[in-house]
């Protein structure tokens, strides 16, 4: 590992000011950054430890208008927030189904949003990777791409966005408050992550030195009938092959609101407004759910060994919609 300067920040203002130097990275749980530093994929000149900033860990889920979740709150704690469990099960489930309890105890809900891809070519230094070394080529295109994206890829990169939490948050129109040298600003989560395009090394829209301080989720009638359904190679402690966050609201049998986002299949958290529109204004049926799933994947481009993700993804969406609807019935 390359040497780096380590410092701790006691406040958000201190952290932002310390991050002004080029090559500085924030350290919270460290589960992605420190791991990638060991692999020489990340080599920051300086690391500012924000894990002890008390104001970052504040969680307020009691308000009528929105959930407020401090970026420094731990994944394991937010996963068990009683309001999330009752009113936004998709959010709680997306956290509980991520990683292991040890990792969830370390990792923060802010850092998790920018977890980097698990593409083996990105993590290993023996192969070209445009994300790790821009312009060197993509080894996954035509290579071992069983786990790679079928949505949002480019000629430069098909690495999957690995997270679950951001997928569920995207379905709920979450907002991200960030602090930077010029003060605070708000970024819709839908504008936080980028598709790889020609610049796969640029994964998000934050400026250098900007720190995620909190996540806000506007209240919605579709919260209670929601689920995060995750399909993986083993039952627990694995990344998604395909996942879906589904949230529904009903008037009698008729769907009045539908929210749908998928993970494990795309280069960024992926929402389909087209699929949502197909669900609204009619009862949820096997046909309408299937049509929604197919709409999500209508633009899918498979690689060599990941064509299965299209049918798996469609079925994951269908299952998620019925699991979400069942929560409404059980109330």
């Amino acid at each position: 590992m390359r040497p780096f300067a380590y410092s701790t920040a006691a406040t958000v203002a201190e952290a932002v000011s310390a991050a002004a130097a080029p090559g500085t990275r924030f350290l919270a749980g460290g589960t992605t950054l420190y791991d990638l530093m060991k692999l020489d994929v990340e080599a920051p000149a300086a690391v500012v430890d924000v894990s002890r900033i008390a104001e970052l860990a504040r969680v307020d889920t009691d308000g009528p208008d929105e959930l407020i979740i401090g970026a420094g709150a731990r994944m394991c704690d937010v996963a068990e927030d009683p309001v999330l469990l009752r009113d936004y099960p998709a959010l709680a489930e997306s956290l509980a189904k991520a990683a292991s309890q040890q990792l969830r105890t370390m990792a923060t809900v802010g850092g998790n949003l920018l977890q980097r891809t698990r593409c083996a070519y990105f993590r290993g230094s023996g192969f070209p990777c445009n994300k790790r070394e821009p312009g060197s080529g993509c080894s996954a295109l035509g290579g071992l791409d069983r786990g790679h994206a079928v949505l949002g890829g480019s000629d430069a990169c098909v690495a999957v966005y690995p997270g679950d939490w951001a997928v569920a948050l995207l379905a709920f129109d979450a907002l991200i408050d960030v602090a930077g040298p010029d003060g605070e600003r708000t970024v819709p989560l839908s504008e936080l992550h980028r598709e790889p395009g020609d610049t796969p090394q640029a994964e998000h829209t934050l400026a250098p030195g900007e720190l995620i301080v909190r996540i806000r989720v506007p209240a919605t009638a579709a919260g209670r009938s929601s689920t995060y359904h995750k399909v993986r190679d083993r039952e627990s402690y694995a990344f998604a092959l395909a996942s879906a966050a589904a949230a529904l609201a009903f008037d009698g049998p008729v769907v009045t609101e539908a929210r749908l986002a998928v993970g494990g299949v795309a280069t960024r958290p992926w929402r389909s407004r087209e699929a949502e529109a197909l669900l609204v204004g009619r009862p949820l049926t096997a046909e309408s759910a299937r049509a929604a799933g197919e709409a999500v994947f209508s633009g899918a481009v498979p690689g060599r060994a990941n064509r299965y993700k299209i049918e798996l993804g469609v079925r994951t969406v269908v299952d998620a919609l019925f699991l979400a609807a069942r929560k409404e019935e059980s109330r």
Binding site: M1, P3, A5, Q101, L103, T105, M106, Y237
Partner: protein, 159 residues
Amino acid sequence: MRAKIVVNGVGTELELDARESLLDVLRERLELTGTKKGCDHGQCGACTVHLDGRRVLACLTMAVQADGREVTTIEGVSGDGGGLHPMQRAFVDHDALQCGYCTPGQIMAAIACVAEGHAGDDDQIREYMSGNLCRCGAYPGIVAAVREVARGGVRPEEA
């Protein structure tokens, strides 16, 4: 940088290189080799320890992040008289290991699993123990051991 870490109840002052993991400091400098290095990348759970009472992976914890905090390792779980912790006793009773390499991490995770209230039934135990891999496949014994301790079935050994 200078750091003070309380390890198994004993305050220790150390001059740390920021690159050092808590795992390497425990094993190489404090000679507490009970905590095992498996993958060193947060994938196997062999290095599980408690930091301020909560389970974490020592391999993905920078040692400097433990400054001013309390670490408990497998060497620190036995009673005052040196007898086995109830979870250790249960692992022995249920044959919850074969080669034993993952066992210290399993036991640290298992103690936390019970303390967190995540050992309500076998499915929940499997889910909350999934971060600890056992290449020998002693999982049935591990689940049985955690279940027994969660139900209060094992008493600490008299020292």
